[in-house]
């Protein structure tokens, strides 16, 4: 950073001398040298920050009107929808925002997997990311319980019951979680408390995530290190504007859901108030949990299913060491790239199977898809690094760019 920020005004100088916060923001949000070849898959970091802040702000206002009481929760949500100024807008943004958050996080993770962003020296960024994902799952699940509809209640019943699979202490732990002998208002109140707390924990982890990112700097589509200043551009305005452009396109999709089909991602049963005496015919989790739900059901044993589901997330944290290849980007990994797309297809298939009844062919497919999910990480990833002959890497980020231009120039000459 040759053009380091120097405070100009007297006030800025006074503040910055005592707390160099202006220098910090200037260095990390303005001048930060960023590889110049990042594509649009790199815009999801900014989009996710937007999602988190949107959820926190809308959630804060919703919490001013929501009542975490088993007898009042459902009506208080409808009060928000009917009587609070723009309450319907806040709630629909918050509910659909959860789905948009997960769409963005899945794409963000898929990008990281494709371009090897989890590899040395960025392992910790990835691992912090896995913890953020885990907290997101917990937060989203608890949030879905709060309207106290039928799916809220029975989803909470099923998921909290998974803890009873723990040997010896299962029942005690489950009762402790419930604060009762069944799912009741006691659980609703503590879920509300935790649902309010967790986004701030996520926020803290996001700061660590970005801090850890700003030590080595961004990975890039070539997956090679930055070698000279020519390879980078300052974050502002190049990536600020590019990120905002992607964000606005993302917001168009978001607004499409919020304003024109706000309930399409939810389940109609959640507009029926929770009734402990009436089990819904089908208890389905939110769409973003379906792949993990399919893994849970693929194992014919309750404890085994729970272990498989938890492992499916936990295994992600070990990817930096499971992948034996030194080459980061799949652009230069002809063999692994095919398995990468197989994994993506496998995950989508699991999501579909999670929405179907686990019988017959669906159950068999579910088991095969679960098997591949784990094999991919514990077998395919370590082995391919040894077998595969990667394509030659460019010498620098600027090199493939220049050669492309040269090609253009050449083709211009021949034409």
């Amino acid at each position: 950073m040759s053009d380091d920020y120097e405070p100009q005004s007297a006030v800025a100088k006074w503040i910055d001398k005592r707390l160099p916060i202006i220098t910090l923001f200037s260095g990390h949000l303005m001048q930060f040298p960023t590889p110049k070849n990042l594509n649009y898959w790199w815009t999801f970091g900014g989009i996710l920050t937007f999602c988190l802040i949107t959820q926190i702000i809308t959630g804060l206002v919703l919490a001013m009107h929501y009542i975490a009481d088993a007898n009042l929760a459902f009506a208080s949500v409808e009060h928000i929808m009917r009587d609070v100024n723009y309450g319907w807008l806040l709630r629909y943004i918050h509910a659909n925002g959860a789905s948009m958050f997960f769409i963005a996080v899945y794409l963000h993770m898929a990008r990281s997997l494709f371009y090897g962003s989890y590899k040395e020296p960025r392992e910790l960024i990835w691992i912090i990311g896995v913890f953020i994902f885990l907290l997101m799952i917990a937060t989203a699940f608890m949030g879905y319980v709060l309207p106290w509809g039928q799916m809220s209640f029975w989803g909470a019943t099923v998921i909290t019951n998974l803890f009873s699979a723990i040997p010896f202490f299962g029942e005690a732990i489950t009762n402790w979680l419930w604060g009762d002998y069944s799912v009741s208002g006691a659980l609703l109140t503590r879920f509300f408390t935790l649902h309010y707390l967790m986004p701030f924990l996520i926020f803290g982890l996001v700061i660590l995530h970005i801090w850890a990112l700003h030590v080595p700097g961004n990975n890039n589509p070539e997956g090679i290190d930055v070698v000279k200043g020519q390879d980078t551009v300052p974050f502002h305005p190049h990536y600020v504007v590019k990120d905002v452009l992607a964000l606005v396109v993302f917001m168009i999709v978001f607004a499409g859901f919020v304003f024109f089909s706000p309930n399409i991602l939810g389940h109609s049963d959640n507009y029926i108030q929770a009734n402990p005496l009436q089990t819904p015919e089908h208890i389905v989790p939110e769409w973003y949990f379906l792949p993990f739900y399919a893994i849970l059901r693929a194992i014919p044993d309750k404890l085994g299913g729970v272990i498989a589901m938890v492992s499916a997330i936990a295994i992600l944290a070990f990817i930096p060491w499971l992948d034996s290849s030194k080459v980061r980007s799949c652009k230069y990994r002809p063999l692994y790239r095919q398995f990468y797309w197989l994994l993506i297809a496998d995950f989508i298939l699991l999501g579909y199977l999670g929405s179907q009844s686990a019988t017959g062919i669906y159950l068999i497919l579910g088991r095969l898809a679960t098997l591949y999910y784990f094999l991919h990480f514990i077998l395919v990833m370590p082995l391919i690094g040894f077998i595969e002959k990667p394509k030659p890497l460019p010498k620098s980020i600027s090199e493939p760019v220049l050669s492309k231009e040269e090609q253009l120039a050449k083709s211009g000459q021949t034409a």
């Binding site: 396109v249 168009i252 089908h282 009844s357 686990a358």
Partner: protein, 258 residues
Amino acid sequence: MKRINIFALMITFLFTTSFAFAEGEMHAPMEPDWSFQGPLGKFDRAELQRGFQVYTEVCASCHSMDLVSYRNLVQEGGPEFSEKQAKAMAAMFEVEAGPDADGEMFMRPAILSDKFVSPWKNEQEGRISNGGAYPPDLSVMVKARSGGADYVYSLLLGYEDEAPEGVTLDDGVYYNIYAKNQKIAMPQVIYEDGVEYTDGTMATEVQMAKDVTAFLAWSAEPKLEERKRIGFKVLVYLIILSFLLYFTNKRIWRDTSH
């Protein structure tokens, strides 16, 4: 006993999950044209007003609408009755109020700020009057059923006088082709000329079912018109902004080979 229930639940959860309509036990509902469907759809005021009449004269003898107030009938985007009309409609019902200065509860006519008065004192009374099946609250019914307005409309019209051969119906159970397993505890309530519309519209079965379903769609989503109106502006704004950003971005990256 509790353990068994939870176990049974787990089994249900693990092995039977799928979306409704998936198992062929229900007929796909009819799909009439709704004025409020589509990105620019709005409610038809006259239809909502007729629908309110059908609700009041037919449905309301068994079904409550706890989440809707009489004042909502006046609000923009709804049936938009005049305040005078809505006050008169509210005043036809009595609600318990109090306690007064002597500590006594008393009855007074309902006013605009009151919720729709329920036909039952409590759920138990509703149950015992209906053979044990409590008629569900209709406030958000259209959003609480897969299939939405199409389903509610079809269900109202799906009754057949006689069950096909081989189907036995218990007492208090009726045959309806759009109900789950074609069985439902609600009898047919929509009959031709079941109401006399104040606006002179012919009260055919189809007309009544459509009107009351539109009314229920409004009660489930009273801010639908405002939502679509704002949504349209938001989309226009975002799309224009995205074009501006696209060209800004292009300009900024103009001198960088990448």
